[in-house]
Symmetry: T
Amino acid sequence: MPEHVYQKVELTGSSSLGIQQAIENAVAKAGETIQNMRWFEVVETRGHIENGKVAHWQVTIKVGYTLPH
Amino acid sequence: MPEHVYQKVELTGSSSLGIQQAIENAVAKAGETIQNMRWFEVVETRGHIENGKVAHWQVTIKVGYTLPH
Amino acid sequence: MPEHVYQKVELTGSSSLGIQQAIENAVAKAGETIQNMRWFEVVETRGHIENGKVAHWQVTIKVGYTLPH
Amino acid sequence: MPEHVYQKVELTGSSSLGIQQAIENAVAKAGETIQNMRWFEVVETRGHIENGKVAHWQVTIKVGYTLPH
Amino acid sequence: MPEHVYQKVELTGSSSLGIQQAIENAVAKAGETIQNMRWFEVVETRGHIENGKVAHWQVTIKVGYTLPH
Amino acid sequence: MPEHVYQKVELTGSSSLGIQQAIENAVAKAGETIQNMRWFEVVETRGHIENGKVAHWQVTIKVGYTLPH
Amino acid sequence: MPEHVYQKVELTGSSSLGIQQAIENAVAKAGETIQNMRWFEVVETRGHIENGKVAHWQVTIKVGYTLPH
Amino acid sequence: MPEHVYQKVELTGSSSLGIQQAIENAVAKAGETIQNMRWFEVVETRGHIENGKVAHWQVTIKVGYTLPH
Amino acid sequence: MPEHVYQKVELTGSSSLGIQQAIENAVAKAGETIQNMRWFEVVETRGHIENGKVAHWQVTIKVGYTLPH
Amino acid sequence: MPEHVYQKVELTGSSSLGIQQAIENAVAKAGETIQNMRWFEVVETRGHIENGKVAHWQVTIKVGYTLPH
Amino acid sequence: MPEHVYQKVELTGSSSLGIQQAIENAVAKAGETIQNMRWFEVVETRGHIENGKVAHWQVTIKVGYTLPH
Amino acid sequence: MPEHVYQKVELTGSSSLGIQQAIENAVAKAGETIQNMRWFEVVETRGHIENGKVAHWQVTIKVGYTLPH
C-alpha cells in the first residue's frame, strides 16, 4: 500500500432480493466504468414498500478505487 | 408525487432468522394499522446474544406513509 | 436486570458469505474469551472488492457482556 | 411553561413552490388531527428533480405539541 | 424476547425539580395511553432559565413499547 | 423502480438571491452534463457576508441520477 | 487570505417572514457590534407554531469574522 | 417571541455534588455578566475520577440569551 | 501531564436509584481491575420501564485511565 | 480542579506552513485578550488550494479557559 | 464569488511521511485531471501499522473546484 | 484478508512535539501488549495550553489488530 491515491464515488443500488444483492448490483454497475475498485462502505439502507411489503431494498454505498499512477 | 404529506413512525422488529426478516416483521406489523406505507429507513441494527450465539436480530426502522387528503 | 455493570468491546468480523456471517464470526471469536455476552450493536458495514465483486464483508460491532459480581 | 409533557411527530411536507410552503403544508396537515402544536424542527431538506429542474421540495420536520393534562 | 415488534414515541418532559423528574413525568404521561412500555432513551437535555436560575428542566426521550400480537 | 443503480454527486450552488435559487443554480449546472437527475439532498447551507449583509447564499447538495442500463 | 484568525459566534435570528429574513436579522444584529463579518453557517432551523400556523421562523447560525491584527 | 435575536455561549460547569449542580454553577457564573438568559442545552457530560470515585462532575452547556434591541 | 498514554473502556452501569448512581456503579466496578482511572465521558442514557415507571437507569460511559510506563 | 467554570470560544486559524502552525496562530491570537486558556479541541480541518497546491491550512478549534472567580 | 457552482470529489491520499504529505499527494493527483481546485476539507484520518509502527498515513479529503461557465 | 476477526482499542496519546508524535506514542505503547496491530483511526484531536501556548498535543485513536486463530 505505497503512496496511492484513492477516489470514492457514492452509489445507490436497488434490488427486490435483499440488502446484499442491492450492494452487489451497485458494485457491478460501477465496475462497468471504474477499474481497480478496492472497497465499499455502507452509508444508508432504505427500501420501498408496496402493498404492505418490502418491494425493493435500496442501499447507498461509497466505492473506493485506486487512481492510476 | 404532488402536494402530499407523509408521516414517519419508528419501529423495532426482531427475528431469529436475520436482519431482513426483522425489517419485514416490523413492516408487516405496521401494516395492520397503517395504510399507504411508502418507504422505510434503517436507523439501527442490534441483536440479542444467548449462549455465545446471535439469538435475535433487532432492527429499528422508520416507516413513511402518505397521510390521506 | 438488577444493578449489573456491562462492558463493551469493539470487533470487526469478516466473511466471504455475507453480513450476518461476518457478525456471527465476530461473536463466535469473542465468545472464546468473554463470558456472558448479552447483545451487539452494528457500528459500520464495509467490504473488500476483488475483480469487480464483493470478496469479503466486514462488519464492525460492539459486543456487550455482563461483568461478574 | 409548567410541568407540561410534549410529544413530537415526524412529517414530510412537499410543495412545488418551495421550502417554506412544504413546511407549512406539513404543519397544516398535522393540525387537522393534533391540537396545541407548539414548534417544529427541520430534520432534512430534499427535493424531486424532473426534466432537469426542481419539481417538488420535500422537507422533513418534527412537530412538537402539548399533551392534555 | 421472541418475534416482538416495538414502537417508539418521542416525548419531552419538563419539571422544576430536575432531570430525572422530567423523565419520569414524560414516562407517566405516556403511560396514560400506552400499554407495555419497555425502555426509554434520552435524546436531549435542555432547560428554561428565569431570573438567572434554572426554572424548568426539559428532557426529550424516546419511549419504546411492545405492540400487541 | 426496478433494479436501477443511482450515482450521487456533491455540488455547491451560490446565488445572491437566496437559498432556493442557489439550489436551482446547482441543479441547472449539473444538468448540462448529467442525464436523468432524480433527486437532491441538502447537505449544508452557508453564505458570504459583505458590508454587514448576506451577499451570497451557498448551498451544498447531493444530486442523485439514474445510471444507464 | 493570509495568516488571519477568525472567530465564530452562534446566534439565533427569528422572523415572521421566513428563513432568510431570520438569518438576515441575526446578521444585522451581529453587525452592530462585530466588524469584518465574513461568512455564516446554518446550524439549525426551527419555528414557533401558533393557532396551527408557523408564527415565527427561528434559524441558528454561526457567524465568522476576522480578528484584527 | 417577536423579531428577537439570541446569542449562545458555551460553558463548562463543574461540581463535586452532581450533574445538576454543575449546570447551575455554569448558569450562575454566566449570569454575572449576561442579562436576559433564556435557556440552556446540554452538550456533553464528563467527570474527573480520583481514587476510584467520581470527584467532579463536568457538564458543558450552551446558554442562550436575548440580545438587547 | 507529560507524555502519558491513556486507554478508554466503555461500560454501562445500571441503578434503580438514578443516573449518577448508575455512573458511580460503573466506575466502582471498573476500579476493581483498573488502576489510575482519570476521567469518564457519558455516551448514552437509557432506562428500563416496568409497570409504567422507570425501574432501572442505564448509563453508558467511557472511562479513561493512564497506562503504566 | 475545584468548582471552576470554563468558557469556550470557537476560532479558525490559518497558516501557509501547516496544521499545527494554524492551531498555534489561533491560540496566540486568542491569548491577546483571554487569560487562563486551558485546552483546545479541533473541530474541523480545511485548506485553500491555489495553482493546484495547498496554499493555506485552516483549522477550526474551540479554546476553553477558566472564568475568574 | 459570483454565481459559481462548485463540485466536490472525495479522495484518500496516503504517505509514509505524514498527514500533510498525504493530503498534498491527494491534491496533486486530483490536479492532474481537475482544473480550478479551490479548497479541501478533511473527512477522516487513518493509518496503516506495520511491525508496531505507523507505516502509512491515510487522509480522506473532499476537494472543491469551480465548474466552468 | 480471509475470515479474520479484528478487535479495536481506544487510546489517547500525548506529546509536546505534535499531532503525529502523539499518535506514534499511543501506537508504541499499545504495541507493548498487543500483537498484530493493523491500522488506526483518529477519533479526536485536542491539546493542553499553558502560558498561552500549546504545551501538549493529545490525540485519541482507535487501534485495530488481528485476533489470533
